[in-house]
Every structure is written in C-alpha cells, then in structure tokens.
Symmetry: C2
Subunit: 446 residues, 2 copies
C-alpha cells in the first residue's frame, strides 16, 4: 500500500492495484504478517518515521533508491528476465547502480532481521526481483531463519544471465539459494532456474532440490491465481456496471480487448499490427470489429518505457478508428471491458504469468475467446483452451484473432467454461496454501 | 570459392577469406570431396550452367535466394543464434521468406542426392545455419546416407528459439537430427542444443546421443583450429612484411588491436567506449597508446548492418585520433597488425568460436595480451591465458585493457607462449580429424 495527501492535506491510503498486491493482501489478512516495504512516496517517508505495526515502511537513501529501482530493478533485471535488451547496443553494466541495489537489499535485510528478533519463529517471505540479495544477508545473520522467495517474472536461461558479469549473476543465484524455498509460476521458469544453478554456480540438482554451499533449497512452481470472491463482487459493483453501460452503448458488434501496462514485454505494438493485418485480410469486418486497448502507463521515469508508449501511439494512429487506445490507470473500466470482450489478446513477448488472462475470462459474459502467447506463464495452465500464438508471428496472430472472431458459439462456450472452472479452482488461496505447504515441508525436514 | 571477371573479361577465381573456407579447403585438398555451394555472383551462375567437377555451383531462383540469404539466414537465424534481436520491436516472423529458405534447402538437398547416386558411399557434410532443413530431405530420400552437420555459430538456449514459431523451430531441430553427427565448437553450444532437443522436440538424450523419431544422432564439440602452416608462411610473406613496415613506422608505443567483420555480434561500439574510458582513467597513456580497429564491411544489404557501421563510425569519431578505424577487406594488413599488437581485444556479444583470437596470438611477435569475451567460443580453450571480460561490462573492459597494457614482460610471455602452443597443437587438421573420427564412430556402430 502507498500513502499520500488529499486536497485537504489529510493522509490517504491507496492499495496497490496489481495482482501481486491483491494476492499478498489475502495472506496478510488471514495470518499474523508484518509487511516490510520500501517507502515510495513522500508521505510514505513520513509514515516510515512513525511508530509502525503490520506494515513497516523503510525510508531508503533517495539516490540509492532511484538507482535500485530505475536502473537495476527496471530496466536491467526486468529486461534481462524478459529478454528485452537490444544487446548490440545496451546495456552497459552499471556497477555503481548495482552497489545501490545491494545497499537497498541490505537495509531490507536488516529490517527483516529486526522483525525476526521480535518474532523468532516467523517465516520471511521475499517477493520478486527487487530483493535477490537480501536473503543471503539474513541467512548470514540468522542461520536458522525459515525463508521463502517467490519470483513473479520469467526466469531466463543461463546465456541470458550473461548480461550481468559473472560475479554479479553468481550473487543473484546464491542470494536466492540462501532461501529454503524458491518459487516460480511455471515449470518452465523453474527448469531454467535449476539449469542456471548448475551453469552459473556449479550447484548440484536432485529433483526439485538444489544443493549448494552446504545448504539445500526446494525449488517449486505454483502459478498464482486471482481472488475470485473479489471479482464475483466487482462484476456487480455499481461503478463497474456504470462503465459497462457506457461501453455497451458505444461498442461495435465484436470487441477485441487488451489490458496491459505499457511495458515492452507486453508486445502491444505487434498486437496492433496483427489487428490491422486481420482487417486487411478480412475487410468485411471493418466497422463491425474494434480493438479496445486499455493501457496503464508504466515506469515513465525510464526512457525505454517512454519510447515504447510513443511507438504504441504511432502504431495505433496508423489504424485510425479501428482502434480505441486508452492510456490511463482505470481498473473499474478494465473490469467493465473484461465482461464485454469477444476476443482477449494476450500476446506478451515473455510474461511471468499474466493475471489478465485469468481475471478477464473469469468475469466475461460473452464466452469471449482467449488468444494467448506461448511465452506467457499462464499458457502452461490455459493453453489448451486458448488459441496459442507465437509473440513474434504477427501474421499468425492476425489469423488467430480472426479465428476467435468467427468461432462457433458451442466451441466458444466450451473453452470459456473450461477456463472459468480452472481459474475458480486454482484461485489465489490455492496459491497461498501451496506456498505454506512448501514451508511446512521444509520445516518438517529439519 | 567465388568466380568473377577481371578488367580484360577473363574469368577470375577468388577463394573465401574466412576461417571456415580455409578449414574446409584442407578437407577438400586431402580427400576426394565434391563441394556443393550456392552461386553467389553473376559469374558463379554462368559456371553453374557448365559441366562441373570438384565444386558444384547451384543457381537458385534469384528472389528466393535473396530471401534465403538476406532475410532468413541473415539476420533472422544469425540474430536468433547471437541473441541480437531487440525483441520488443523485431523481428516479425516472415513466413514467405521461410518458404524460400526451405526451397533453397530443397535444391541443395537434391544436389546432394544426385552426388550420392554417383558415389553411394560418400558422406554428406553440411555446414552451418544456411542448411538446417536439407539433411531431413536427404534422409527421407536416402535413409542410409552417412551425414554430418557442423554449426559454426552459437547455439542459443530454448527460449531464444521461441523467436521462431513452434513448427518452424521444430523443423530446425528435426532437420539437424536427420544427420548422424551434429558438431559444435564448444561444450556450451552443444549443451544448449541437447537441452533444446528435449525442450523443443521432447527427444530423449543419453550422454552425447539424441534419440528422436527412431534415429540416434551423435552430438559432439570440436573447436575449429587454424592452418598453422599457412600462417607460418604468411608471417614472412613479402606483402605482409611491407604492410608491417608501414605499420611500424606509424605505430605508437603500444597498440590495441581489434580485427572483425562489422557485425553487431562483434561488439565494436562497446569496445571503442571501453578504450575511451581507459584513456579517461589513465590520461598518462594518451598519445602513447592507440586503438587500431580493422573492420571488414559485412552484409551491407541488411539495414541492421548498415546501422551498425554508422554507430561504429560515430563512436570512433568521438575518440578523435586515439582510434585508427579502417573499414575495408585487407587480410594482408590484418596479418601485419596481428604481428604488431600489444593488446588484442575480442569482446564479442556472442561468438561461435572467433578465429581471430587464435590467428593473431599465433603470429604475434610482441607477447601481446589477449582480452577475451566470456561469450566467445574460444574462451573455453583460451580463457585461462587471456584476460576474461564480460561483453556488457564496458568498465571492466577498460580495466582489462589497462591491465594488459601494464602487464609485466614475464607474465605476458607466459600467457602468449601457452596460447601459441595450444593453437599449434589444436590446429585445423586436428579439427578435421575429429570430424572424421566421429563419422567412423557412427559407421562402426551401424
């Protein structure tokens, strides 16, 4: 969560809108959890100076935090893990920024150690690519701590990691292996991590356990789910219904939807190109089908992201009124569109999981068809009911969109029902239970 | 080899200057070999229409050949295998060009089949990334043919191959597995290929054998060597000595050399940046050290390559007279410079092997120091005697260049001697013998 001030100077609290924040909220609400997070806003920094319980906000050095967040985490690690670097030209590895990443990790590790001193039996549960170095620091100080780390983004193969110098990628792998459990969304990312442990560290792998430096780490794959109760409610929320009425009044016969952050990994430009190509091949659909692209502006402090928004806008303009491009953060509008799509396009270059591919079909009311990238983590679960596409094959994406638009009602229904049933039975609490079961397994083996 | 016409209209023959052509020439000279190649020049196409023996030139359809060569082979496959695509933006998979690639492969396969009809006990020896589909065609027609394929460029990991749609990357892997032997320069590329056979095809791997579709394929790693006799002669060649005298007259106290094609995989821009950074950190070396960059212009029909030359020229200009950039094809000058360098920079992003890292130290007469990318295949052999650098770490490359320039004489000698001894004992005939031994192993197991 994040703090701010409203127009009257009162403190406001906004919860993170992303799927990760939602997933973790469930954990926090049902267990005795202390959430340790970096202060992001000015008001966060004020809160960080106050007595805290439940959520601890850490005020980092501003410059170090900027390098940690806007250089190392994004884009360096994000681009390495989504294979987005244009390697002939970028990056040049930035050692000073890496030092800042290490410093922010050390501060977070100290906060975790302080919390362990207060509650020695607590588990430490690290999230994502911002904290690869913290677990090793905690482990050094508290050898018996029970620690788990979940990586929400893709784990690329060993050669992709050579974008980081050898000692640095060694620190990343060793940092993760300081945990008792390392979790990924899919078997594919898990497989890449296990191979990397061998290639980068020379570790020994036996089944799902990595043996390195005298420690054993369990490596698991549990795809995250959505909070189905929340979406059951949202469907009938008055503000969603109001946005849905607006959409219904203006919608064409068939609606092709995408909902993404404006991240180069999401492959928005090729998606627009594919939609344009589909219309070129099937001019009879012009005027009857529109693409609605709801894009949440993301990481606009980073030049690559600014450039990507510009490329999206150029491509969309070239398609005229066949595309309705909306750049802005409006979750209510997204849920309304989720209910209304006929085709949902998720064509990510690479994606750790992709929660939109679960949220949108779950609430959709038109038996909409999911067109899903083979490189999205969700493809391992949903691929058999989706139309699979290769993210670099624009022509095949155009054909898949057309196939989805012209699919018979029975077939659409069959696929949509199967996705809904899967999403319902693999919800966020199943994911949370799997995390806790991993920890139990580790504890009982001690 | 390639045919042309001189000023008087007489047919000329020029041999390929690259290391691969040299290596294969040895094979051709010592065995009864028919070389089947595509006609590249207009005169080649004339020769293709004549009675041929020894070398058979195939005249392909011009448009199909252009797509085969300038779209699929370069840049598509080359960029996939060197991980050079800027994946957020390129490529869009081009199915028509792939059809042309398949057609050119089919024509080459038919030529191989015709040759097998003439000499049924011959082995077919496929080279490189231009011919991934031909082996499966020959295998279908001649199930008992003995076939070997050597891949001279890096073999990337499975996720990198997803730049090609599933059925296409399946064809690539299955095409190679139609051979009895598949060879790579290094264990690293071999390992990636073996994993890919599992990931892409679901093949079974036992040690160095892949079991797929009822066939077994031996997968080996043999780094190519240089023709040491040729370089022993070249050292004393009058034209080389003449170029060397020119160089000696103009050279600074210490010379940092790079010799490359102007290929984005060679990492020329970062190398220039590293040299500039080294001078910034050690201003006392200004005027005493110069970088000589001898760059052979490459694939200038392809926009990415034209852009890369421009980027190199921009970077070099910013360094003023600290850099002597020569763009042109002049092997004699390269050999003269090989003899004269104090530091050789080979900082490739990825490289299948890199023959310059063997040729230049072999003839060098100043105990020059090799600074070598960890992502060049030659690093597996020469890394222990080189200063290893990560290709993306410009700062560390600057430090390595400085360390090389200031290294003591005894240490330089020790390293240079070790590299020369290794290159001498692992020459091109050792590589050729290893290829033939693999084929013997396959034959005896039948």
């Amino acid at each position: 969560m994040s703090y701010g001030r409203d127009a009257r100077g009162e403190r406001t609290v906004s919860r993170g809108g992303g799927g990760l924040a939602t997933a973790l909220r469930g954990l926090v609400e049902q267990h005795d959890v202390t959430w340790i997070a970096n202060a992001m806003t000015d008001e966060d920094r004020v809160v960080a100076g106050e007595e805290q319980s439940g959520t601890i906000l850490i005020a980092q050095d501003r410059d170090a935090y900027a390098r940690f967040y806007n250089v190392v985490a994004n884009p360096t690690l994000w681009f390495v893990q989504h294979m987005l670097w244009d390697l002939a030209f970028a990056p040049d590895f930035d050692r000073d920024a890496w030092t800042s990443y290490a410093a922010v990790n050390a501060t977070m590790a100290r906060a975790a150690i302080a919390e362990l001193d207060r509650a020695p039996d607590a588990c430490v549960f690290f999230q994502d690519y911002h904290l690869y170095l913290a677990p090793a620091i905690v482990r050094r100080e508290r050898p018996n701590a029970v620690m788990s780390h979940f990586v929400h983004i893709p784990w690329p193969e060993s050669d992709a990691w050579t974008v980081l110098p050898p000692e640095i990628r060694g620190e990343v792998f060793a940092g993760l292996l300081a945990n008792d459990v390392v979790g990924f969304h899919t078997d594919r990312w898990r497989r890449n991590f296990l191979r990397g442990c061998v290639d980068v560290l020379g570790a020994r792998v036996e089944g799902d356990v990595v043996d390195h430096g005298g420690r054993r780490t369990l490596v698991t794959a549990h795809p995250i789910g959505i909070d189905t109760d929340e979406f059951d409610e949202l469907k009938h929320d008055e503000s969603v219904l109001a946005r849905e009425r607006e959409l219904e009044a203006s919608r064409p016969e068939q609606l092709v939807l995408r909902v993404d952050r404006t991240d180069p990994s999401k492959n928005v430009v090729r998606g627009l190109r594919a939609f344009g190509l589909m219309l070129d091949r099937h001019p009879e659909l012009r005027g009857r089908v529109r693409m609605l692209a709801l894009l949440d502006p993301s990481r606009q402090d980073i030049p690559e992201y600014v450039g990507y928004v510009a490329a999206i806008e150029r491509e969309a303009r070239s398609l005229g009124d066949a595309v309705d491009l909306r750049v802005g953060d409006d979750f209510t509008r997204s849920v309304a569109a989720y209910k209304q799509f006929d085709v949902l396009l998720v064509n990510a270059v690479f994606d750790g999981l992709n929660l939109v591919s679960k949220e949108a079909p779950y609430v959709n009311e038109r038996d909409g068809v999911l067109v899903l990238s083979e490189n999205a983590g969700a493809h391992e679960e949903l691929g058999e009911w989706a139309l699979s596409v290769n993210p670099f094959d624009v022509s095949a994406q155009a054909d898949a969109i057309h196939e989805a638009l012209t699919m018979g009602a029975a077939e659409r229904r069959r696929r949509a029902d199967a996705i809904r049933a899967h999403v319902r039975s693999h919800d966020v609490s199943a994911w949370k239970d799997a995390q806790l079961a991993d920890l139990d397994r580790v504890r009982s083996s001690r």
